[in-house]
């Protein structure tokens, strides 16, 4: 059962409920569903945590997920893992779950709507200067726009906007194209082939969630790590003198 018709490009156009000026479309409803699922699931699982040798299987699952995300962040950021962890992990888990549930009939991924992905990308757009300023201070962060010379300032600004657009359109395009491909295949070869594409879609959803989180982390790391690099160089320069 597909609730998004083939000529509708995003689930925003599917109105589930309208009352006065309040309009609930499919994107909104399924975003709330995913949010509720994540919040309630996390609360229920973390309600009775144990540090014993035996732990519940749900706590084990959560530990594996959190540990993997932490190690991935540590590989990129090298330090300050816990500062970035809440933001990156929330992005990853939200996108992951909204992508993975596409195999449920009647569900349409909120990430296959440009509004959701644009909101997520704008969050990254504002998070990058926030982390950069809180790490290096305003002056050091703004200096980054004028490196190596002041001629590069417009290119840096353009890069900020274009990568935000790219983040949004990439996630939206992948999910939307996958939905449309399945809808077209259902019309052409209805029985077996759409199932194979659905399985491929799970992989695509996982990879896209991973890529979105990794790119957000890389952008944040590039805004925060410039200062450290100069520090490292200073240390390297002074080391031979000390020894």
């Amino acid at each position: 059962m597909e609730i998004v018709a083939i000529d509708q490009i995003s689930p925003d156009q599917v109105i589930l409920f309208a009352w006065g000026f309040v309009t609930i479309n499919a994107t909104l409803a399924y975003t709330w569903l995913i949010m509720g699922l994540l919040v309630v699931g996390s609360i229920v699982i973390t309600r009775d945590l144990s540090s014993e040798r035996t732990l519940s299987r749900w706590q084990n699952l959560l530990e594996v997920i959190v540990g993997t995300i932490r190690s991935e962040i540590r590989d990129i950021a090298h330090e300050g893992t816990d500062t970035y962890f809440p933001f990156i992990a929330t992005l990853f888990l939200f996108i992951l779950f909204s992508n993975l549930f596409t195999f449920i009939p009647g569900y349409v991924a909120p990430t296959s709507s440009l509004t959701t992905t644009a909101a997520l990308a704008i969050m990254v757009f504002f998070a990058v200067p926030m982390y950069g300023i809180s790490k290096n201070g305003v002056l050091e962060y703004l200096k980054e726009y004028f490196r190596p010379t002041f001629i590069f300032f417009p290119f840096h600004v353009m890069g900020e906007f274009s990568r935000t657009l790219a983040l949004a359109v990439r996630l939206f395009g992948n999910l939307m194209s996958h939905e449309k491909v399945i809808a077209i295949l259902l019309a052409v070869t209805p029985l077996f082939f759409p199932v194979v594409m659905q399985v491929l879609g799970l992989l695509i959803g996982l990879i896209q969630a991973y890529i979105f989180a990794i790119l957000a982390m890389v952008y944040i790391a590039s805004a925060t790590q410039t200062h450290e690099e100069t520090e490292h160089k200073k240390i390297k320069e002074t080391e031979p003198v000390n020894s």
């Binding site: 490009i9 991935e72 790219a166 990439r170 395009g173 194209s177 890389v218």
Partner: protein, 92 residues
């Protein structure tokens, strides 16, 4: 031919051409990227994790070009802004 069918024809043909030509470059680029990554993994299997991560990020960057083309074709076919304009002109 009236303007409605000209716009319809141009939209459909352009959508096909956009997707077809737009897939060539990313296809070649992704092939080269995967080739380079496989060579590097074969030479240095220890670095597999960071190579794979960089490969995925790079593939996503390359792939986004094809995705832009796809989004534009989709807009041309399903949500064509010129289409509504022409229909309004023809109707009114």
């Amino acid at each position: 031919m009236d303007s409605v069918s000209i716009v319809a024809m141009a939209s459909i043909i352009t959508a096909g051409i956009c997707m077809g030509i737009g897939a060539i470059g990313p296809g070649l680029g992704q092939g080269r990227a995967v080739q380079g990554a496989l060579n590097s993994i074969a030479q240095q299997p220890d670095e597999r994790n960071s190579l794979t991560r960089t490969l995925f990020v790079g593939l996503a960057m390359i792939e986004s070009i094809a995705i832009y083309c796809f989004v534009i074709s989709m807009i041309l076919v399903f949500a064509n802004p010129f289409w509504a304009y022409v229909i309004k002109k023809a109707g009114g």
